[in-house]
């Protein structure tokens, strides 16, 4: 596309089928402790 560059991102709709294993880190367990962000967590399904 001439005017649009799309970054590679995880297909969230697809993750509905294969996600939800729950092995990822609890988001507030790292360096915040006073806020909540989940997007910076890594998916750990592969390492299960």
């Amino acid at each position: 596309m001439k005017r649009i560059v799309t970054l590679k991102t995880r297909n969230l709709e697809e993750s509905k089928k294969n996600g939800g294993c729950g092995e990822c880190q609890t988001s507030c367990q790292s360096a915040c402790k006073t806020s909540c962000g989940v997007a910076n967590q890594k998916c750990e399904k592969a390492s299960k």
């Binding site: 560059v5 995880r10 969230l12 509905k16 729950g22 609890t26 006073t34 910076n40």
Partner: protein, 456 residues
């Protein structure tokens, strides 16, 4: 729903539901912004007026691309997840993380401490090894098939109960294999009691170490001082430096808090970098609005500008081959969390609990000491199921205000503790925090965009 924003010369479009990220030129930006608002003919006319240098055919071509992305569900994606939210709110959950309050006491007397100088508005107390073991047994017993279990040694100041921490880690290593689990430990410390033994043990056993330093000496020592009023900077910095130099595995975070007294927190980040630290986090203070150090509305503009300055600094340093990480700008767009995680959030009160020195259970560390939120204890388990149900309902869709927010799948509805402390309601919205959060996500997306575009 989409979110269009400009930052540092880039025009960026985020598709909320798919979380697709597009970098576009001005023509595409104007077309996408108005795509759902105007009939096609009017859209073309408006775009021609805004961009006379572009032909109608070029605009039609761009519109065809936009339509293709829409069909691929990368733009204007309808909300696919809302129908399943009730199911998520009623889902079965298992415990996978614990914040272990091994010491309700502290050797610093930081005025801004949400934990009231480590005591959480209660008595000074240390967790016994017996209670610690009971907590880990409880975690294993309630963790279902989860393999990775997280335990944060927290306080107060956990190094004031260090031998117990070491003994408890040894116990965990004894029992994890027979139960098919892997404990991942975090130590959150103010650094005062770090010595060679702590460094050696923490660097071997802790997957993550969170080190508290607010940055510049004057800023740090304003709040982070001993009961006798001595600033901690000169004591803790050499200890932190030694720990980090010797750390060969796992992560660490140098974590600071900024307040009304230092909204120009990038200066503190620079100090951390000069001291040799490169895995950093800075958090806005959480306190009552009446506190003299609470961030004000006037501070917000400064903080927003600082977040952009921080993005600039990260970008420059990465180009110089001296990158550093900032916790809130870490985004893994390709391998980040699945939609379940993005909707359900931090799991406080359901997947994550805080355990007090005497074995009481709370939804998270920020509710400890507030009896209304006590969920139960290690002996009788979670008894307050009504309270737990309230936490289970906290997600990206539970607050009406989030329905038209583009960032909801990045924050999952935000921090329940912040919501409660700001509004008196778990389902409330801490708007100040939301504004800062959204700015951080814009900056994080910009950094991803800049990285990719410069590679190309």
């Amino acid at each position: 729903m989409i979110h269009c924003f400009q930052l540092k010369g880039y025009h960026i479009v985020l598709d909320t539901v798919s979380s697709s990220v597009h970098v576009v030129d001005e023509v595409a930006f104007d077309l996408i912004r108005r795509y759902e608002e105007l009939p096609r003919e009017e859209l073309v006319t408006e775009c021609l007026a805004l961009h006379p240098e572009v032909s109608k055919a070029e605009i039609e071509e761009c519109l065809a691309d936009i339509e293709e992305l829409r069909k691929e569900r990368k733009l204007f994606t309808p909300d696919l997840y809302r129908p399943n939210v009730e199911k998520i709110a009623k889902r079965e959950t298992v415990l996978k993380a614990m914040c272990l309050h091994v010491a309700h006491t502290c050797n610093l007397d930081c005025e801004y401490c949400f934990a009231a100088q480590g005591k959480y508005h209660g008595e000074r107390a240390l967790m016994s090894l017996k209670t610690g073991k009971k907590a880990l047994d409880f975690l294993i017993a309630n963790s279902g098939t989860r393999h990775n279990l997280e335990v944060d040694f927290f306080g107060g100041e956990p190094l004031m109960n260090w031998q117990m921490v070491k003994d408890l880690v040894a116990y965990a290593r004894e029992i994890e294999k027979e139960h098919g689990k892997r404990f991942r430990f975090t130590l959150t410390t103010n650094g005062m009691l770090i010595d060679d033994d702590v460094i050696d043990f923490a660097n071997r056993e802790m997957d993550n170490v969170v080190l508290s330093l607010d940055g510049r000496k004057s800023v740090n020592d304003r709040f982070r001082k001993t009961v006798g009023g001595v600033g901690s900077f000169d004591i803790i910095v050499p200890k932190f430096q030694k720990l980090v130099v010797e750390r060969k595995q796992g992560t660490y975070y140098m974590r600071g808090t900024f307040t009304h007294l230092n909204p120009d927190f990038v200066e503190d980040i620079k100090t951390m970098l000069e001291l040799g630290f490169d895995e950093l986090s800075m958090e806005p203070v959480v306190c009552a609005p009446s506190d003299p150090y609470a961030l004000t509305e006037a501070d917000k503009a400064v903080v927003m500008e600082q977040y952009e300055a921080l993005a600039d600094l990260m970008h420059e340093r990465a180009k110089m081959g001296k990158p550093f990480t900032f916790y809130h700008y870490m985004l893994d767009l390709e391998h980040g969390p699945c939609i379940y995680k993005r909707i359900s959030g931090c799991g406080s009160g359901t997947e994550y609990v805080a355990v007090t020195p005497n074995g009481d259970l709370y939804p998270c560390h920020q509710f400890v000491g507030d009896e209304r939120f006590k969920l139960g204890d290690l002996d009788s388990g979670i008894q307050n199921l009504d309270m737990q149900a309230q936490f289970k309902r906290c997600n990206a869709y539970s607050r009406p205000e989030c329905a038209d927010c583009w960032a909801r799948l990045f924050c999952s509805g935000g921090c329940a503790a912040n919501a409660f402390h700001a509004t008196g309601d778990l389902q409330g919205v801490y708007e100040y925090g939301c504004d800062l959060f959204k700015k951080r996500i814009e900056c994080a997306l910009y950094l991803k965009v800049a990285e990719q575009m410069e590679e190309e």
